[in-house]
């Protein structure tokens, strides 16, 4: 027995973009009334979506913003009609789409509870019977006779939620409303949902909270761009969705990086003046934290002696904006991030290996070169920086096209977006080609730990301390 059944449902929103100026008058004048009433643009919000929710099941719908989740919910609620296909719902539906829709600000909470309840399909007597329960659930006993306009937004939402949930529907539609109220109220709502499930009611849940779907739902559906991508076991659907999110994030990061590189190239070409000024400022700076030639220009030559333990002027580094400068006697032709399987990627999981592959080209053979990398987080804090000089590699010869890799065995970083500097410069810091913050990648993690660096770690407990088995 199915509580909700969608069969090949499509919903096309019509847009009347040519309508801005066509008021009734001009429509009549230009005799274009009928023409204007015809839509000129179609926007498919849902395409051929079919799913069934058995009675008593909790069904989760996930997907990006604009993927058609709310449209699906509205179709089930009967607020809009499908363009094609059929929607069947068995039993009384209550939709927690917008809480307190229809509250009148001027009249009291009590009266609004009655009107809202009747609007949602209760009779006056039914509201009367449930009134105390509703008010207690909303925790608004002392304010119930005050006009709703004096309520805080939390109170307003709580009252709306309380009314909607006490309609006692056979099918409850929930659209991302658990974000209302404080922690305590959220728990109360979840408890109420559990109670619903126990009583064999059907819940359709639209949410961005994937953990809620995994924890709560018997089944899940993933919508993308109005298409049903996959449905079934929540864990599997959530995983499929997360993988897809990573892919699109990677595409976005690839685009960001390409734009940054392109932008830097252009700037370098268009504004040599400004670039020179920048060179002058920047050329004293090597990659990473070497700090050895961050002295004044005069003693730059003199200080050939590397000062490896020099203080890392992180603040200084973080002020830098992305860009590219240098003489290009040695040029960085291409930079890519490579994952465990040797595939180029922009999204890595914490603890994964990451390899930076760099192609360089020397116009003339040289024996004065240092390769360096710097790793920054989104706030511009330098997480790590090093170069071949700091690691005691003495350059001997670089000629023509060449390639090097910088391999990180384990990316022990917390979740976030990171940017990378890649540079090649002379031993004294004179830049050949300096790519500042041009390369972006993302580190994902299921653990929501904080900071920057995640040391390899483990927890060990003596007897007397016990945790629940997950």
């Amino acid at each position: 027995m199915h509580a909700i059944e969608l069969d090949n449902v499509s919903k096309i929103y019509r847009r009347y973009s040519g309508r801005q100026f066509s008021t009734l008058k001009s429509a009549l004048l230009q005799r274009s009334l009928m023409q204007n009433l015809r839509p000129n643009e179609m926007f498919p919000a849902l395409t051929d979506v079919s799913f069934t929710v058995p009675k008593g099941a909790t069904y989760g719908v996930i997907g990006k913003n604009g993927s058609g989740k709310s449209t699906a919910l509205k179709l089930v609620a009967g607020i809009t009609k499908p363009t094609t296909g059929t929607v069947r719902v068995d039993g009384r539906v209550s939709a927690l789409i917008e809480l307190g829709a229809g509250f009148h600000p001027e009249i009291s909470g009590r009266e609004n509870v009655f009107i809202n309840g009747i609007m949602l399909g209760l009779t006056k007597r039914e509201v009367q019977e449930r009134f105390d329960e509703i008010v207690d659930f909303a925790e608004l006993r002392e304010f119930i006779d005050a006009p709703v306009k004096t309520y805080s937004s939390g109170m307003y939402m709580r009252l709306g939620f309380a009314v909607a949930i006490h309609v006692d529907p056979d099918v409850l539609l929930v659209d991302e409303v658990l974000a209302v109220g404080d922690e305590g109220f959220t728990h109360k709502c979840l408890d109420k949902f559990s109670e619903f499930r126990r009583r064999g009611r059907t819940i359709l849940l639209v949410t961005h909270s994937l953990s809620l779907v995994e924890r709560f739902c018997d089944d899940a559906l993933w919508l993308d761009n109005g298409h049903a991508m996959t449905h079934g076991d929540p864990r599997r659907v959530v995983d499929a969705y997360l993988t897809n999110v990573e892919h699109s994030e990677a595409a976005l990061l690839a685009a960001t990086t390409a734009r940054a590189v392109e932008g830097a190239k252009k700037k370098g070409r268009d504004g040599p003046e400004g670039q020179e000024g920048k060179d002058a400022r920047q050329e004293r700076r090597g990659t990473g934290q070497d700090g050895r030639d961050r002295r004044d220009g005069q003693d730059r030559r003199a200080s050939q002696e590397p000062k490896r333990d020099g203080p890392a002027p992180v603040a200084d580094m973080s002020q830098s904006v992305e860009g590219r400068w240098g003489s290009r006697e040695v040029e960085i032709v291409d930079v890519s991030f490579v994952d465990r399987d040797g595939q180029p990627s922009f999204v890595f999981h914490s603890g994964d290996p990451l390899t930076v592959r760099v192609k360089v080209r020397a116009v003339q053979p040289t024996n004065d070169f240092v390769f360096g990398v710097g790793l920054f987080n989104a706030e511009g804090v330098c997480c790590y920086g090093t170069n071949t000089f700091l690691e005691d590699m003495t350059p001997e010869r670089l000629d023509g096209d060449a390639e090097y890799t910088f391999a990180i065995d384990s990316l022990d970083l917390v979740e976030g977006t990171y940017k990378m500097d890649v540079a090649v410069h002379k031993l004294d810091g004179y830049p050949y080609d300096y790519h500042r913050l041009l390369y972006t990648f993302r580190v994902k993690s299921r653990t929501r730990d904080v900071g920057i660096y995640r040391p390899r770690h483990s927890w060990n407990f003596s007897r007397g301390i016990r945790f629940k088995q997950q």
Partner: protein, 264 residues
Amino acid sequence: MFSNLKNLLRYRGLIQSLVARELKARYRGSVLGFFWSFINPLLLLSIYTFVFTVILPNQNKDAQPYALFMFCGILPWNWFASSLLEASTALVAGGNLIKKVLFPAEILPLVNVFANMVHFFLGLTILGAFVVGYRHWPDPAGLVWFPVAVLVQLVFTMALALFFAALTVHFRDVRDLLANVLMFWFFATPIIYPWLDPNVVRFKSLFNLNPFTHLVVSYQEILFFKGPVGHAKWLLALGAISIVMFLGAYWFFDRLRDSFAEAV
């Protein structure tokens, strides 16, 4: 369409409470509160009395006391005009409901019509007070027709309210247009001048085309003419037309219903 109409009956409890809310909310926060429903027509009547008995006295002997005569037309007109003006924006103003709650949208304009009907009844008590004050007793035989006139006006107003409410969703300028049309309509209806004035009779066939003429004249005849109301057959004809109009308007509304949630 007819199943929707039947559905509407199920929602009469909701219409009731929404009308009550509308009335309560209107005067919430004002000192005199509900008394404004009496004070407004009272002040209006005083002004008209002053203008048409002192400054521009109307001598038509069939229509005395003149203030009372005018009031017979102004009260139903106010009901009609305010209903249409409010109903025309009802769907746009209640957009939140239409988009978020499963809810028969036609309730919103109908609530405006009913709320204004309540104001009309409250205004009638003022009229009654003046009837007593002037000792101008209507013929009880005519009074029987009063509920009929009210019913006809109700159906007629609901028809237009539904029509304009649906139209305003797609053409927002209906509201402004309507305000002007109603102004013109007011003066084209024998409300502040008597229907039997020789100058009006000359254009009688034109006036007959105006449906509201028959309503107003019916109200006036109930209070001002002896015997059975002479205008009754016009009133009944208008009643029949109103029912057809209501069905037509409801059909129109029903056709556009699915576009409301997207267009408001």
